[in-house]
């Protein structure tokens, strides 16, 4: 039996709760949108049967050949079956930032200064990665 000493901390339980809901929501959405994509209900940015001609390319060449969007350029294209899937992928990828934001007030209330700083720094790092500001050069 778990006793008080072995129980997870308040912030750990809060993190787990958000992660649990977000994970299953994102995954369910990803599976649904994938079936929408392959069913052909919506138009696609790249025709499904032509995709095998392009997925052998490096990503920079793929983007150049198809004028595919980078960064958050996919967001206005979610009316296309292929880019609709990015909603679920973005939820799964963005979930950790949300979890940190949820535990931040708890850490502040506990006056856990070191972990407040760590959590804020992590949110900044992940937000920078998510922002699309980081560019990778072609070759």
């Amino acid at each position: 039996m778990a006793n008080e000493k072995t129980k997870a901390s308040e912030e750990q339980m809060a993190y787990a709760g958000v992660l649990n809901i977000g994970m299953w929501s994102g995954l369910a959405l990803l599976i649904v949108t994938f079936f929408v994509y392959i069913s052909g209900v919506l138009p696609t940015f790249v025709k499904i049967n032509e995709l095998p001609k392009y997925w052998t390319m490096r990503v920079h060449d793929f983007n150049a050949a198809l004028h595919a969007p980078t960064g958050w350029g996919w967001a206005p294209l979610i009316g296309n079956g292929d880019y609709l899937n990015f909603v679920g992928i973005a939820i799964l990828s963005g979930l950790t930032i949300l979890c940190y934001l949820v535990i931040l007030p708890i850490l502040v209330r506990k006056k856990d200064t070191a972990y407040v700083v760590i959590a804020i720094a992590e949110v900044l790092v992940l937000s920078l990665a998510a922002s699309g500001l980081l560019k990778v050069g072609g070759h």
Binding site: M23, L30, I38, F62, I89, S93, A130, G132, V136
Partner: protein, 342 residues
């Protein structure tokens, strides 16, 4: 009875893996041979003849749906093997799919990161609630590793495919070496926690059901471990592998966290490290739903079946089978990178 059952499972997995590999190889051969004269037509939004654009590959006679279906079957098997072999899905996914499917390694690494990320996100809540994954241990490590993973992802996307394949192959062979020789310690002795871990309060207590008692733990050598997590983060981002194979030895053998805490915290840690790298791949366009979704679903379903089989299998036999599989995939990647086995 149990031994016979595990032999049947192993035989089934070997046959299934052989059939899938053969199927993929045949389809790949077909893709290379098919209709070279067929001109590549640009998709509705694309313009293959635009300045600077790269012409598309020749049309293949292989129906498109063969690939997601093959991916689903292969990743389902990988999901089972990953659980039985005690490794993350990403470390099997990238070299095997990168080596035997026609997808560019950029898209394979993007998918590999998301596969590892989804597995970590799914396991995270349970591990945190049971206090096996420690937020206090994970948060400082994650900050270092996730920042390094961004750098790794950017390096990985800038390097040429043959360089990536060569480095990936060498890394996989190194992982095989670690898996073959690494010892694990259930309850490492920590003579004295270091100053940094004390000031951050990295310690805990959890219920060890197998012993029927509470186990207190603390860590040492934190600065050295944090320095190693820079390297681990870069490699995770560069190759899209996940990094459980490196996280666990550092947390367990170097820092001295109990094995259960190390394994659980490592799994949770991947959900943060892989997030940062996944965003870089996503923002560069290196994520194709047609590769990601079947792989993700396949590996998660395989993992569920793997957990059920785990109770009735011989872990040692499976571990050596996974090592053999990784050895083969690592060699394939290395030789592909060196252009010896194209």
């Amino acid at each position: 009875m149990v031994h016979r059952f595990s032999r049947v499972i192993i035989l089934f997995l070997i046959i299934a893996a052989a059939l899938c590999t053969a199927g993929v190889a045949i389809a790949q051969h077909d893709a290379h041979e098919a209709a070279p004269a067929v001109a590549a037509s640009a998709p509705e939004h694309g313009d293959a003849h635009a300045p600077g654009a790269v012409p598309a590959a020749p049309a293949s006679t292989t129906p498109w749906w063969i690939w997601p279906l093959s991916l689903f079957v292969v990743t389902f098997i990988l999901g089972i093997l990953a659980v039985l072999g005690g490794v993350g899905g990403g470390v099997l996914f990238v070299p095997i799919v990168g080596g035997f499917f026609p997808f560019n390694i950029d898209f394979v690494r993007g998918a590999g990161l998301l596969v590892a990320l989804a597995g970590a996100l799914a396991a995270g809540p349970g591990l945190l609630k049971r206090n096996l994954a420690s937020l206090r241990l994970a948060l400082p490590v994650a900050l270092i590793a996730s920042a390094a993973a961004i750098v790794g992802a950017m390096i990985g996307l800038a390097l040429k495919p043959n360089v990536i394949n060569t480095l990936l192959g060498a890394t996989i062979l190194f992982i095989v070496f670690i898996m073959a020789i690494a010892k694990k310690s259930d309850f490492p002795v920590v003579p004295k926690p270091d100053t940094l871990s004390q000031s951050l309060g990295i310690m805990g207590i959890y219920r060890e059901e197998s012993l029927g008692k509470d186990v207190e733990w603390t860590v040492h050598k934190t600065p050295m471990a944090l320095a190693l997590f820079i390297v681990i983060g870069i490699m995770a981002g560069m190759f899209g592998l996940g990094a459980g194979w490196a996280n666990v030895p550092v947390l367990n053998l170097m820092m001295g966290a109990p094995l259960k805490i190390s394994v659980a915290t490592s799994k949770f840690l991947l959900s943060i490290t892989d997030t940062s790298a996944a965003w870089v791949y996503l923002n560069q366009g290196a994520v194709l739903p047609m590769i990601v979704v079947p792989s993700l679903v396949g590996i998660m379903l395989g993992s569920i079946i793997g957990v059920k089989i785990l109770a009735k299998s011989k872990p040692k036999a499976i571990k050596w089978m996974v090592i053999g599989l990784l050895l083969f995939a690592g060699l394939r990647s290395l030789l592909k990178g060196l252009e010896i086995w194209k």
